[in-house]
Point group: D2
């Protein structure tokens, strides 16, 4: 890595980009980014230009010598990059809306990361990511791939298993969100809290919680189950858990666990929402439209506060914080998606896990967590099985594997309904799933 860092951001037209830029500006002293290349595809060109111009104004305001490049030429952007961040969405939010709506037709949660929707998001995304990996091998073999694109766990698994580059990290804002929530609950500064995270992306547990190095896990669990804290808890935990369940579980859950430990209520909630306000994708589409209207304002030269409503808070912070730690060999502890190497028992050494890691210049080094607690082993293993079968289906375009992945997903009610959803989804996403329709194309 040279003095002047080059970043390539695939999916640069994303509404998140201003957060990323803000993150680089804030940390410029220790992380001197010289070139930020925003890359997008033809369909995203307009959005990229809007957000790219905002980025330029932000940098100018900060008075920093960061060059912002906008391009449709991915290979040009990758050439000599030090870090590649991926935040693209194959098929845009329209595709996400289908991932959410189609399963709901069958009374099944879409859940665009570890659920039925996530399977198809993975099928669309993984081939593109592997393509980027092939380009990186050639154009920037020493660069780190920092992937935010969901399903981040499945994508990291696919890169570890099917790509030749080894420097990949999958990122999620969920763990940092839990740490912040706990800090707020205990009314202490975030820096005093440390959580031992272990599991998979969106299936991560807090095995222990430390305040100033002393375990406060039991206290936190006690507080979470206290109805007086319900408003807070709902904030980080969604609907609120049964106290008996949480106490006996004995570890902290993440918000996505709602889909698995409360699936019936979540289906009902999603069905209602889909009817009343649209699915999350549809809501976000409206939010994004408003955001891009804001971004167009030539007087705007900061990240607008409205972006926080978009969701995904801390994502930018998580990403830049990670790049910062790698670049400076900071050796702080961050929960990321990386190769297991024995950190979590019963998950293969060469599989992706989400786990607290020390971040060195050589990347994340996972902290050994030993066996997962008995009650959570099953679900973690089940999602790992799902991720692996799904990744293989994405790479091979194999129909049977796709039905299998859908069937073994814990949100699936049966093999037959799984097959019906797969058939519907394949048809709906046809243009973004060439690996399944090769023969037709040939």
């Amino acid at each position: 890595m040279t003095e002047g860092i080059k970043i390539a951001t695939i999916g640069g037209g994303s509404s998140y980009t201003p957060e990323l830029v803000e993150g680089f500006i804030k940390r410029y002293d220790e992380l001197p980014v010289r070139e930020l290349w925003l890359v997008d595809i033809e369909e995203g060109k307009e959005k990229m230009e809007i957000v790219g111009n905002l980025a330029k104004r932000m940098v100018q305001k900060a008075g920093l010598p960061i060059d912002i490049h906008l391009t449709l030429d991915r290979r040009e952007a990758l050439k000599g990059a030090d870090f590649v961040t991926t935040q693209f969405r194959v098929g845009l939010l329209d595709a996400r809306a289908k991932d959410e709506r189609i399963p709901l037709k069958y009374g099944v949660l879409g859940q665009e990361t570890n659920g039925p929707g996530g399977l198809f998001k993975g099928l669309r995304t993984i081939p593109v990511i592997l393509d980027i990996c092939r380009d990186m091998e050639e154009l920037c073999p020493d660069a780190w791939l920092i992937n935010f694109t969901n399903p981040a766990g499945m994508v990291t698994e696919a890169v570890l298993r099917y790509a030749n580059i080894k420097k990949v990290v999958g990122l999620c804002n969920v763990p940092i969100g839990i740490e912040m929530g706990v800090a707020k609950l205990l009314d202490v500064d975030h820096s005093r809290i440390r959580i031992d995270f272990a599991g998979l992306n969106h299936m991560v547990y807090g095995l222990d919680v430390y305040l100033d190095g002393v375990s406060v896990k039991d206290k936190v669990i006690e507080m979470i189950t206290d109805p007086n804290n319900s408003s807070f808890v709902k904030n980080i935990e969604g609907l609120g858990w049964e106290p008996s369940f949480v106490k006996a579980l004995g570890v902290l859950t993440c918000p996505y666990h709602m889909y698995y430990y409360k699936s019936r209520e979540m289906v009902e909630k999603d069905l209602k929402k889909a009817k009343e306000e649209g699915t999350r994708a549809e809501v976000v589409q409206r939010l994004e439209k408003e955001l891009f209207e804001l971004y167009k304002d030539p007087n705007l030269d900061i990240k607008p506060p409205q972006l926080e409503e978009r969701g995904g808070a801390y994502y930018s912070d998580a990403a830049v914080r990670l790049i910062h730690s790698i670049y400076t060999d900071r050796r702080d502890i961050q929960p990321v998606n990386t190769m297991n190497r024995g950190a979590i028992a019963s998950i293969p050494d060469d599989s992706a896990v989400e786990v607290s890691c020390v971040i060195t210049k050589d990347g994340p080094k996972p902290i050994a967590m030993g066996d997962l607690p008995v009650p959570v082993r099953g679900l973690v293993q089940q999602i790992k099985s799902f991720e692996r079968v799904a990744a293989e289906a994405a790479v091979t375009g194999d129909y049977d594997l796709t039905v299998l992945a859908m069937t073994i997903n814990p949100l699936s009610p049966s093999d037959t309904i799984a097959k019906q959803i797969v058939d519907d989804m394949l048809e709906a996403h046809k243009e973004h799933l060439p690996q399944f329709f090769n023969e037709v194309q040939a």
Copy 2:
């Protein structure tokens, strides 16, 4: 073990007893049983006498010197026994009917073995089994405990973890049923088929299938997915699987997998049945009534053919075959529930698994199966987590653990509904769950 073998059968008033007796009679030459003690509790006395008298007539007809003893004194029966078989049902079929009906009220499968019903069956059964183990330690420390009582996996886990006797085997007729089904499908004699079974009780997979020592697994899977074999398949597999699912899964399933890979259809089916003909328990209650009417006939001196309709075929055969192999150090291969010892990766060495074993005089020796195939690891791990938490709940009478066990069961739709079912079930089964109501009683 002495020349004359002593068997103690706890729950001797069961309608299955004639099968057991038939099994001992058939194998008398190599397995010279001299005393068969049928034990039951006060409530089962009448049935025990009916079935016991039939047993006596069967033995007399066979002209064999097997003494049949009927007793309510369990300790008397255990004294010096060589084998103890357990086939009792705490709370009788009435309790099973509740295990089935209460979850259905919430649109949840009862599934009296690995499901919500099975949890409560375990909570009622495990303390009694552990009590028997304590008696055995004292009265027949060298005896083998051959347990048929469901949930056989959870019960074996509980004995391995919480009892001092080590000689325990859990038995199920499912694997032998699959082998027979495959033999029929291939139209060959059962003896030519061998299946590598691995998993848990009622969650067991056939990892490979051999005909005369050559793998025919792919052929069998092909046949299973052929609609022309559907009538047969339905017989062993219930509703019939999606061909894509089965092919990609790549291993043989067991009938109980229907509950997990086809839960929605199974709920609907069970709801319909419960309405039209009653739950399985209620159907069996009627069947049993008829059976006991038959058994009363003083001219009956064989196992009546109507018993086969009762379900549970091959159970007797499985049990006596196992006792036979242990007694004669036969070293044949049988799938049973025993301590894992590394046979199945990712399941703790000291947990119970259902796996093909060589049966020696020193008991079953599991065959090392290595890693389970990726797609099945999750569900197996999930049921193992459920079994362990459930076993701990049974031993401790801990309410929170019970809610946890119910919630992590794959058939559970949410923590809240899990809690509701637990509350209903605890109330309904109160008299058989003293460990949960100690304080009330005190």
Copy 3:
């Protein structure tokens, strides 16, 4: 496999061949061998003819329709074979003599299987075995390779790791010898004894010992440490162990353990023997000479009793017993070298181990043994490391790996002496190690 079994024996000119033939004759009823192909190389032609003619006389005497073929054309012999047995010795006993003498020059044990000599035996043997495997892939892809050639553990490891055929078993007479020794010690018939064997070839332990299914391990260990049994013990155990050591070890050792747990005495003994009577290879050369003189006698039509003195008793029995069990799907328990598959913890699943297996028509199925006892884990792991590095050195012809393998062997006194021995041995065995001298040849 067809009715008439075809056996190909590579190294057919071995003095052991009459035992093998006797074994086939004895078991002809259940194992109807029709063709036995003895294969050897030009240098072994004369011996093959002598032993082959004896074999023909033996078969004739037995009145059995077994055709004995003698050939130098290995491919002809392999074509359509059902079982391939390998008992050849690259470089003949002359090479073994060097394996023994050269290390002794440095005060180091030769030990032609797991020791420094064994390393070079492996380097010479593995390329030939892998060549045979390639031929088998093409000419008899369904055949089983039954390897007796030492170092049998390293050879099996190499086949599992570097060949494409999967049907390989490594055989040794050590475990069966221990069982027979124990039977004699207890003065009972061998059939009543069963030992749980686990470890590696020539590094195998008896984890438990059963007499009629009841553990008598402690009693056997007690007897072994009783000086009154010393003459017996010396017979199976060599010099006799310190009672304290054996009691605390808590498992049965094998005779080869003498080299590791008594290396100093063994070096002294070997040095003395080498001086007085020659190394074992030289003694065996004389014995073989005498044997072949006997074999030439046209009136001899049985295996001559003098063969037993040659050592290697039970080898033939072990081999034919194994072939018999595979052919008839006998499902008896035999200790053989096969893929671990989790049977022994801490050894990779895909490595070779020597372990009690059930022998089916689909080959050996290892019995899960769980963790090895603490005190023996280290030595087993060390030999496994040695075997793996050695196998890689054999395949690659890499000098550094060879020095590494020699250095990490537990009998090696230092890296520098290891290097000296390697240099001497490479020179001495040059003609049989083409993989190390390719450049010179080119």
Copy 4:
């Protein structure tokens, strides 16, 4: 932990104490030690007073409010301590001299840590350490035990397995010495080097070496094997390795590996030294005498430079650095001895390993290293087996286990010689091994 930190140093009369005091003085700003209690036994009183007075002068010179307490009352010192450091030597250097001389009589290395001498050092030390642990449980249950007393690996294993306190770390200066050596070799500042350490105490390997986050392992190995660097290498590596061995091994060794990979040369060297200048213990006795003469000088108020010749450089730094990182929750990476928790495959989760850890206020968190490289697995496993059997022998006073531990040590030439050494050593160390002589005492 309160503002004012209390340290209790068991074996406070050690010649190392001035280094420790210097370390606390240097880091006072972030690590405000208020009380340092030096504890020793009656025999060490004089030395403790000499070194304690020097410590007082050092503190006074630094102008810091650190109270130095000298006491023979261990319980008084432990009361309310925040950190307990142990650097005592049961039987003093006289005992070490016996540990070294007795095995040499048999031509066997003494090696006072992982070797035969280390076994007896462990037998003497472990009961005292466990006694301290019992006191800590009562008097300072939240304190950390920082153990430097050798054999540090075996002692940590014993505490993890047999004590009730969980906060224990074993410390060694070997890894930090390797890092410093590599920095010097590459001529860069130590802070730019990071090594992934994994293994056991004095049996630790550098799996990878990073300069500014980029692996330079291959380059370092290349340099180590270059004869031009031999003077340096000898410095950190002793006699110098065979280049072929080191290259094929592929990881960095530690100086103690000389005893195992070069045992014959080391025996010869030690025998020669023992004759010419005395064993290491005897040399150190002379050095210590001179040191204490220096310490007595009332004008000396700094750590005298001659202490560095004593050996054990960086020990103090390592210890204070560790305490500093725990106290300040620094989260830097340090190699220490701690519970494995899956960091190193094939070593039980609950065993002690020496591994790179992140140091948090909650103690060291091991970094997951996955499988050790094939060639080093054996020796690591063998030493772990030795440590475990030795620790059990220390706790039980079992003679047979002691002979077993001695026999399975890789430096042992045979069970018989092992027994002879054990018998000699038991006699020689009788007064410090009450657990073996209880009956005599009673």
